[in-house]
Amino acid sequence: MDIQPSASPADRTGTTGRRGFLTLAAAAGATAALGGLPAFTASAAPLRPAQSPLLSAADAARNQLWWQAPGSAGSMIGQGLPVGNGRLGALASNDPGAELLMVTDATLWTGGANGTLQDDGQFPYGRDDFGSLTLLAQLTVAIPGHDLGAVDNYRRVLDLAQGVVTTTYDVAGVTYRRQIFASRPDDAIVLTFSQLGGGSYTGTVSLAGTHGETTTADRASGTASFGAALGNGLTYGSAVTAYSGTGKVAVDGTALTFSGCRDLTVVLSGGTDYAPDASAGFRDPSVDPERLAVTKVRNAARASATALLHTHVADFRAVFEQFGLSLGASSPAQRELDTWQRVQARYRDDVPDPELEAAYLQYGRYLMISGSRGSLPAGLQGVWLDGNDPDWMGDYHTDINIQMNYWLADRAGLSGCFDAFADYCLAQLPSWTDTTQRLFNSPANRYRNSNGKVAGWTVAISTNPYGGGGWWWHPAGNAWLCHNLFEHYEYTQDIGYLGKVYPLIKGAVEFWEARLVTTTVTDASGASREVLIADSDWSPEQGPLDAKGITYAQELVWNLFGHYRTATQALGRDTGHSAAVEALRNRLYLPVVSPKTGWLEEWMSPDNLGETTHRHLSPLFGLFPGDRIRPDDSTPKDILAGATALLTARGMNSFGWANAWRSLCWARLKDAEKAYQLVVTNLRPSADGSNGSAMNLFDIYEVEKGRGIFQIDANFGTPAAVVEMLVYSRPGHVELLPALPAAWAAAGSVSGVGVRGGFVADLSWRDGKVTQATLRSVGGRTTTLVAGGASRRIDLTPGESVTLRHLS
C-alpha cells in the first residue's frame, strides 16, 4: 500500500465530508462541557450566523427522508416525525389542517429515589415510586381551511443533515410550506409557515399540558403558557408565542389566533427544574420553568424566522457532518419511491437499496443528535413519547438497552452526544453508591454478597434520573455501564474525561472485589484449580435466578478489571491497587464450551438452562462489544467455535435490538451476509404493530399480537452494526471492511468513523476493495491498519493524518 502523510488535518481529502463548514458552526453555539449542568437554564443570546448555512437542494437531498402522508393524533409513534434539541423532543403530525406536536422534555420524570426495597429485596417499579418519563405539552396549530381532504401534492421531508421537517402541499393552486425544527441555540421548537401563490393562514395555536394543567394566555406578551408541579415536586412549564409580518395575531382566551397571515412563526419552549445533582435532591430551586419558557420564546421571537432557521441549521449541520456515508447507488425506480414505499419495496422485492440502508444509519445519527445533547441521555424511547405511560417507563435499562444506545455515538462521529450518558452516570453515582452500600446486602436480596461484604456501587436493571433503581438488582450492570464509559475514552483518548469517569470505574471494581467468591473447577485435562466467580446472579432475563459464575458477569468483570488497569496506568493513579485487581483478574473463571451443546456456556453449566433463541446475547459479551473472543489466532479455536455455535443457535429472527446485537456479533465474526440480513430484517415494514420499522423508521417491538411499541435502541444499534461491518477497531488495531456485504460492495465511502485508540477513519471502496483510506489521530499515536489482507503499522501524532491508497 502507498502511504501519503499529510501535514495537517486541513489538507485531508475527505471522501464525503464537508468539514470546512465547521468554522461556521463554532460561532453558533458552544457544546456543553462534560459534567456541566444539563438543565433548563437561562442562556446567553445565541450568535446568529452571518451567512446562510443552508445546503443546496441537491446536497440536502442526499440525506433526506420523505413521505406523502401526514400522521394523526392516534398514530404519532409510527407516523410523527421526530425533532429534538437534545433535551426537548417532539413528534410532529404534519397534518395541514391540524399540526400536532407532542412535546417531551427528557427530564420530566415522575418518581424519585425509590430507596426502599420490596419484601423480596428488589426495587418497586411503578410510575409513582420508580417513576416514568412523561410528556411536557401538546401544541396544536389548527388551520381549518387546510383539511387534508382538500389538499393535493402533499409531501413532507425530514432533512437529516439540517435537522428540519418541511411539509408542502397545495390548496386551490397555492403552495403552502411549513418547517419545524428544534433549536439548541435558541432552546426552542420553531414552526414557520409560508406560502407561494397568494395564500394566507387563518387559525389557532393551542398549548396544552398532559397532566391536567391550566393554560393561560397573556395579551401583553402574546404568549400562552402553563406551569405546574408533579407529585414528586418537580416543577415544569411550557410557553408558546406566534408572530407574523403580515396578518393579525391575537390572544383569544387561552389560545393564540392568527388570520390573514402570509407568513407565521410559532415558537415553543419549556422545561423543568431538574438538576443532575444528587446533593441538591436533583432540583434547581432557582429555576421557574414557566417564566423561563416565556422568556425564551419572547427572546427567540425577536429574531426572524430565517434567523432562527439559520442559527439552528448551523448548529445541527456541524454535528451531523462529522460523519458521511455512501453504501452505493440505488436504482432510479427506488429513488422515485417515498421512504415508506421504499421500506415496503425493500422487503417485498428483497432487492438491496443501498441509499435507503445508508439513510437508515443517518436517521439513527439524527435521533442521537436530536435526543442526546446537553441533558439526560436517551432512554428506551429517547425524547419521543405519545402518552404518559410509555412501556417500561421509557427508562434506562442497564442490561443492554442504554449500552446499545451509545454504541453508535463514537463510531459515527457523535462523540459529543456521548457526554449525556457519561454526565448521567456521574450525576447518579452518589445515589447509586449510597443505595448499593445501604441495601444490596439486604437479607431479602437473593443477589446479595454471600460473604457479607459490600463496596462500591451497582445498579438495578432499570434506573431513573433521581438516583433510583427499578425492578431487580443487576450486579454486573456497573461493569456493563463502565464498558461504554471506557470505550469512549478509547475512541477519544481524552485523559480529562477518563479522570472524570474514573470514580465510576473504580467504584465498580471495588464492588466486584467484595463480591467475587472462590470455587474449584476441573479442567478438561482433569486438573483442578481454584477460580473466582460472581456470586448468585441472573443471566439477563432468562434461566435460573441464582446462578453463580454466569458468563455474562465473568466476561464483564474480566473486562472491567482490564479497563481499570489501563485507566490507572493512563492516569497514574492507584497503581498498587491496580496490581492487586490484575491478580484477581488472572484468577477469574472464563467460560468454556459445553460438551453437550457445543455452545459457549451461559451458566457455568453444560446444560441449556434457558431459551435457545433468547433475545439477549449476554454470554457473547466477549464477542461484542468485548474483544476477548476474536476470529483470529488470539482466541482458542474451540472458544471461537463455541461462540459461533451459540450465536447461530440464537437465530436470525428476533426483533429490534436483539437483531442489532446479533448483526454486530456476526460483523465481528466477519460474516458479512448474516450481519447484513439482520440489518435488513430490522428494516422490514411494521404492520399492525409487528416487529420492524414504522413509517417514520422508529423501530417497533411487538409486545403482543397487534400491539407494537417504539423502542429506540435498534435505531441506534442497527446503525452501529452497519459501521462495525465497515470498520473494526480496538486499541492498536483497525481493520477496514471486515464484513462488507455484497449489497454494498460495488462502491461506497464512509468518513468520520471513530477508531478505538484515538483515530478517525475515512475510506472509500470499489468492488469490495478499499481504494483509499485516511486515518487521522485525535489522540492516538500507533495502530496497525489492516485492509485487504495486508497490514501496516501507522504512527501519527495527534492532529496528524495519513492517506493510503492501493491497499490490497
Binding site: 413521505w67 406523502q68 402522508a69 401526514p70 400522521g71 394523526s72 392516534g74 398514530s75 409510527g78 407516523q79 397534518d95 383539511d147 387534508l148 381532504g149 382538500a150 389538499v151 393535493d152 402533499y154 402541499y169 386551490a172 436504482s331 432510479p332 425506480a333 427506488q334 422515485e336 419511491l337 417515498d338 415508506w340 415496503q344 419495496a345 422487503y347 417485498r348 422485492d349 428483497d350 432487492v351
Partner: protein, 614 residues
Amino acid sequence: MRSSSTPAPRAAHHGALRRPARALLVLAVTAGLAVAAPAATGAATPAAPTPAAADGTAATPYMGWSSWSMQSSQYPGLNPNGSYSYLTEANVLKQTDALASKLKDYGYTYVNIDAGWWMDNGWTPGYDQYGRQRPDPVRFPHGMKAVADHIHAKGLKAGIYLPVGLEKGAYGDGRTPILNAPGCTTADAVYPDLRTTNGWDSAYKLDFANPCAQAYVDSQAQAFADWGYDFLKLDGVGPGSFKSGDNYDNVPDVAAWQKAIAATGRPIHLEISWSLDIGHAADWQRYSDGWRIDTDVECYCNTLVTWENSVNDRWKDAPAWSGKAGPGGWNDLDAIDVGNGAMDGLTQAERQSYMTLWAINKSPLFTGDDLTSLDSYGVSLLTNREVIAVDQNSSPVARPVTPVGDQQVWAAKNPDGSYTVALFNLAGAPASVTADWAALGFTGDASVRDLWNKRDLGGYRDRITEALPAHGSRLFTVEPNGRTLATTGYEAESAANTLGGNASVAGCDACSGGKKVGNLYGGGTLRFNDVTVKKAGIYTVKVRYVSGDPRAVTVSSNGGNGTSLPFPSTGDWNTTATVSVSLALKAGANTITFDSGADGYAPDIDRIDVPQSL
C-alpha cells in the same frame, strides 16, 4: 358451476348477532295449530316473469330518504315513545317537506316508510279483516293514503315496507279470508305445517302451489296501489337475511310480488332486503328492482351508524356484486347516513368515503338522516352534483383495480374514455394512496378532475398520489392524454410455468385461453418462469383471476418476500376480474410467483399482463 375444487370454509356471518332489535318484530304467535285445507284449484307454476325494468322503474339507482336509520337509533330524543317510535305521520311529513325543499332538486325523490307502520308503540301489529297490515292509528292517524298524498303533493314518491311471507299475526286462526279470493283463507295461502320464513321467522311461508298465496300477495299489493305508493321494500328475504334452506327460499315470494305489482297497473319499485344470496343474483335481477347486498348499515346504537358497524364492510362485500347491477336492478348498499356528523357517528373523512363508495357502486342513494338538521358538510356531500352523476350516469359499476388492503383504488371506465377513480384509505391512520395509470391500462399524462373539491387539478404523469386521512377518500375523473400501455401477456396454464403443491390447470370458459390455474391452497404455488422486460424497475403487473369469494395470495418476484395481497371477489367461479400489483423486475428474465401460503386459499389465476416499458 364452481370450478375450484377447494372452496374456503365459509366464514361465520359477522352480522348474525347484529339484529336483535328486529327480533321484536316476532311478537304475534298464533295459538294452536291450524290445519288448512289444500288449495282448491289453480296453476302451480308462476307465470313467466317479465324483466324487472319492464315497467320503467329503476332505470337509475333511486334516491331519497328512509325512516329506518332514525327509527333504529338510540340517539337522544329520536324515539321518545319506545324503540322505533320515530315512525309517525308527523315525522314523515316533516322529513318529506325537508326533502322537497333541500334535496329534491338534486334527484332525491323517494320518501320511504320502513318497518312498523302497522305496529303500535309496543310493537304489536294490527291487521285488517283480510289479514293485511293495518296502519297503526296512533302513528298514522290519517292512514297511509293521506301520507302518500302529501308526499305526492310535494312532487315526491312514496315508499312503504313489508316483511316477506304471511305474518304470524295475520294468520288469525287460519280462517281469515283473503280479499278478492273467494274460498281462500290464510290457511290456504301457507303450508299446512306452518313452516316459518324470513330473516326473523316472523311469518309463515307462503305456498304458491296454492293460488290463494298469490291472491294474498295481490291483496297487499292492491292496498299499496290504492293508497298510491310507488315503492315497496320487501324485507327479510332469503336466501339471504342470514337464512338459507328451503323454508327461507323466498324467490317465489319476490316473483309473486312482481306479478302482483304488475297486476295493479301501478308502477311500484320493488326493493328486496337484506344480505341477499349472490348465488340467486339472477332471480333478484329477474324479479326485483334492487337488492340489499349487506346487513343493515345502522348500528342500533347512540348514533345512526358507526364506521366499524358496518359501514366499512361494504368495501369487502361490494366487489362480488359489481357485475350484477344495471338498469332495472341495482346493488343496494343501504342508507347513506352522511348528513349530520354528530347524529351519523362518523368523521368528515368517513362520511365522504361512505358517499364515495355508494356513488361508484351505483347504489341507491337514500339518506336516513334527519333532513331538518343537516349540517353544512352533510349538505355538501349529499348535493355534490358531480358525485351524484357518478352514481346516476351510464358508466359501469366500479371495481377495485388494486388488491383490497387498507389502501385501495377503485375505477370504472366511462363511455367517453375517461375513468372514474376513487382512492380509499381504510386504515385508522393517514396514508398515501397512489393510482397508477398503468392499472387503468394507459401510460403518460392524464388530466385530473377532483369531484369532491370541484377543481381541475391539472396534469399528472403516470400516476396520482394523494395523502388521505384515516378512513379517507378522494374521487376523480381521469382523462387519459397518453397512450395505451403495451403489455405482454403470460397465461397461467402455460407449460413454461412451474406449479407447486396442489396447484393444477383447470378449464375456465371466461378465462383467456379457456384455462386457468386453480387449487392454489395449502402451499400451492404458481410460478411464471420467464417474464422478460428490457429495463429494470418497479412494474405495475395486471393479474386476471377468478375468485368466488375474497381471497389473498402472496405475490413475489425473483424470490423476494412478496406481499400477501387480498383480492376482491369476482362474484362467482366463472367470472374474471383484474387487479394490478407492483413488483420489481430486473432487465431480462424474471420469475413471478403466486403462493397461497401454507394455510391459505388463493384465487385461481388466469393470466398476467406485464408492461413492456416503464
